[in-house]
């Protein structure tokens, strides 16, 4: 069954097709929700809520306007943001900071998605949101500002801070690594 057939069947509320879609796309969507959630349990809640939204709104999806995968990802991201809006959104700077120009060790280019996810997971939630939306999903600052209900300038500054924070984490990990080697 291709995507178009799957969409048509899901639009007709066919349980088998809906289940097939869950089986086919949930690993990808779970990966996205994990990037936004503080833990796996939270990520599952996001995924669950996102999929319910998918099936309730699938009749609005037009295959001519875009790919199913992109549409699904967008809905999961929106579900994640809704979850975050329920919590108090705080974008203040947290402790760590880094110099303006940091060279990231080449070894980081060898990191896989799991390790990178752990790295990004160390970012404070506000930074992580903007970093995910901007760098991974490719949203513009205007879109991020609309999604998070903040100013565009705030989105830019949050991203800069997120980058610095990430660099600081990398530096910290590097230092810890060398310190452990020295011992």
């Amino acid at each position: 069954m291709n995507d178009n057939q799957l969409i048509r069947a899901c639009q007709q509320n066919d349980r088998t097709a809906q289940r097939l879609m869950v089986e086919q796309y949930s690993p990808l969507l779970y990966s996205i929700s994990l990037r936004y959630a503080p833990d796996a349990s939270f990520a599952k809640d996001i995924l669950q809520e996102g999929l319910i939204r998918v099936f309730k709104n699938i009749h609005q999806f037009d295959p001519a306007k875009g790919k199913l995968k992109s549409w699904l990802c967008k809905i999961i991201i929106n579900a994640a943001l809704t979850h975050y809006k329920k919590l108090r959104y705080d974008t203040e700077v947290y402790g760590l900071d880094a110099p303006d120009h940091v060279e990231i060790p080449d070894v980081y280019a060898q990191l896989g998605a799991e390790e990178l996810m752990k790295l990004i997971g160390q970012l404070p939630e506000g930074y992580r949101l903007v970093f995910n939306l901007s760098i991974i999903e490719g949203y513009s600052h205007k879109e991020i500002a609309e999604l998070l209900n903040i100013k565009e300038a705030s989105s830019r500054s949050q991203l800069q801070r997120a980058r610095k924070h990430l660099q600081a984490i990398i530096l910290k990990e590097e230092n810890e690594y060398y310190e452990s080697r020295a011992i």
């Binding site: 007709q12 509320n13 066919d14 349980r15 809906q18 289940r19 869950v22 089986e23 949930s26 690993p27 990808l28 779970y30 990966s31 994990l34 990037r35 503080p38 833990d39 349990s41 939270f42 599952k44 995924l47 669950q48 999929l51 319910i52 099936f55 309730k56 919590l87 108090r88 705080d90 947290y94 940091v102 060279e103 990231i104 060790p105 080449d106 980081y108 280019a109 990191l111 896989g112 998605a113 990178l116 996810m117 990004i120 997971g121 404070p124 939630e125 506000g126 760098i135 991974i136 490719g138 980058r163 660099q167």
Partner: protein, 442 residues
């Protein structure tokens, strides 16, 4: 590697990244929240409707045929009764010939007619057996036979001026009959009276306007009788509840100590068909029942309080006792087979068993906790179609030949939980119903 290259690497890494998870668990979690599927009804869903329709049609067909055959059996009985009356002695003077025949009171002098009528005369029924019986045919037949009625003026019980002109009157009567009579199915051309030594005089029946058509041979198939039952009563709910755990919330059932059954009731209107010889019957119809109950359960909820940094998440365990009010309304079609045991008195005993399927289910649940926080039970947690088995025993007291009062007890056990599989609790209902009703036989 600069920041930009590193971010590119991150983006590419996540483009196709997938994390495996248990899709069965995920699907079962979301399935209950999805809009209801418009699924095709399976065959067995329509079975009770089909069965009820067939029973209804069969009932009407049998009832019609039964009434038709009863009419003619009565007609034959009436002819025979009249003949018996003719041989008895009575002195009452009839005022007119018509009323005399209607009341089966024939003047003594007409008794002398009987030997005269012993002339082996038969009415040629072949004409009247056809669908195209005409007034002329019947009038001729009457005139032909009426000559045997009064053999002499001396024996005439009525004076000439009062005596009705038989042929005229019968013709009028026949005319009326012809106008009102429907075309009847053909019956075999058998002269039923050829072996009788007295003529079952056709004009006797003409007064009742029934002999213009041939007397059919009484049907040989068993007689079925239509009956209806209207009944209602109170229901005791016997519910076994099983609580499910979803990992975050635990439920402890406190029903044993707290359950307060409140009035539940049931009404039904059934139509049935009973075999007259064996007293077996089958009945179906509609059954409405409302089930109410109150019970408590303890809910333990584990909540994770996420901190903004994600580093110092806390787990909070809250416990609350919830009082649950359940109201379930069911509209069902039962199909029951049973047998009636009669005695010589007016009391009979009915034993029956069968199945029922629900046409619709309306659930109205409310719950309230110690802090008086209200909630509403999600209606999607209930199944719309449920199957159950029933058994009942009851007595009937006959008020008159066609009406009886009934009193009985019935037990209905649902074969599955009224709630869907993924609900937090699954309830298996058993209903004990005590009911009073009225039975009408047609």
């Amino acid at each position: 590697m600069n920041q930009e290259q590193f971010e590119d690497h991150i983006k590419k890494s996540f483009d196709t990244h997938q994390v495996p998870l248990d899709t069965n668990e995920l699907w079962s979690a979301i399935e209950t929240d999805l809009p209801a599927e418009k699924k095709r009804r399976p065959f067995f869903f329509w079975l009770p409707f089909g069965l009820s329709g067939l029973i209804l049609l069969g009932t009407i067909a049998f009832y019609q045929y039964d009434r038709f055959s009863n009419e003619h059996t009565q007609a034959i009985d009436q002819v025979n009764n009249n003949l018996v009356e003719h041989t008895s002695t009575t002195t009452q003077q009839p005022t007119t010939l018509n009323t005399a025949f209607t009341e089966n009171k024939i003047n003594t002098k007409t008794q002398t007619i009987t030997p005269v009528l012993s002339k082996p005369t038969t009415i040629n029924t072949s004409n009247s057996n056809t669908k195209h019986t005409t007034k002329k045919d019947i009038t001729n037949t009457i005139q032909e036979n009426s000559s045997f009625l009064y053999t002499s003026e001396k024996e005439n019980p009525l004076p000439n001026q009062k005596r009705p002109t038989l042929s005229t009157e019968l013709s009028t009567s026949v005319e009326t009959s012809i106008k009102t009579e429907k075309v009847l199915p053909e019956s075999p051309k058998i002269n039923r009276f050829e072996n009788l030594d007295v003529l079952p005089i056709h004009w006797v029946d003409l007064d009742n306007h029934v002999t213009t058509r041939p007397t059919p041979i009484p049907p040989s198939f068993p007689t079925w009788r239509l009956f209806t039952v209207l009944q209602g009563g109170t229901t005791f709910v016997n519910k076994t509840i099983q609580t499910n755990t979803n990992g975050v919330q635990n439920y402890t059932d406190l029903r044993k100590n707290t359950e307060t059954p409140i009035l539940s009731y049931q009404f039904s209107g059934l139509v049935g068909l009973q075999h007259q010889k064996t007293h077996w019957y089958i009945k179906t119809g509609l059954q409405y029942q409302q089930l109410n109950d109150i019970f408590d359960y303890k809910q333990e909820t584990q909540r994770i309080l996420y901190s903004l940094t994600g580093s110092d998440n806390q787990t909070e365990l809250t416990t609350r006792t919830i009082r649950h009010y359940n109201q379930i309304q069911l509209l069902e079609i039962p199909v029951l087979i049973g047998k009636t045991f009669r005695n010589r008195h007016r009391i009979s005993l009915d034993i029956e068993a069968g199945v029922a399927t629900s046409l619709s289910l309306q659930a109205n649940g409310r719950f309230i906790d110690e802090q008086m926080e209200l909630g509403v039970l999600d209606k999607t947690m209930f199944r719309q179609q449920n199957w159950s088995v029933l058994a009942a025993i009851g007595g009937a007291y006959q008020l008159n030949p066609k009406t009886a009062l009934t009193l009985g007890i019935a037990y209905q056990q649902y074969l599955s939980s009224l709630k869907v599989r993924k609900a937090l609790t699954t309830d298996q209902y058993g209903l004990l119903n005590i009911r009073l009703g009225i039975k009408q036989v047609f």
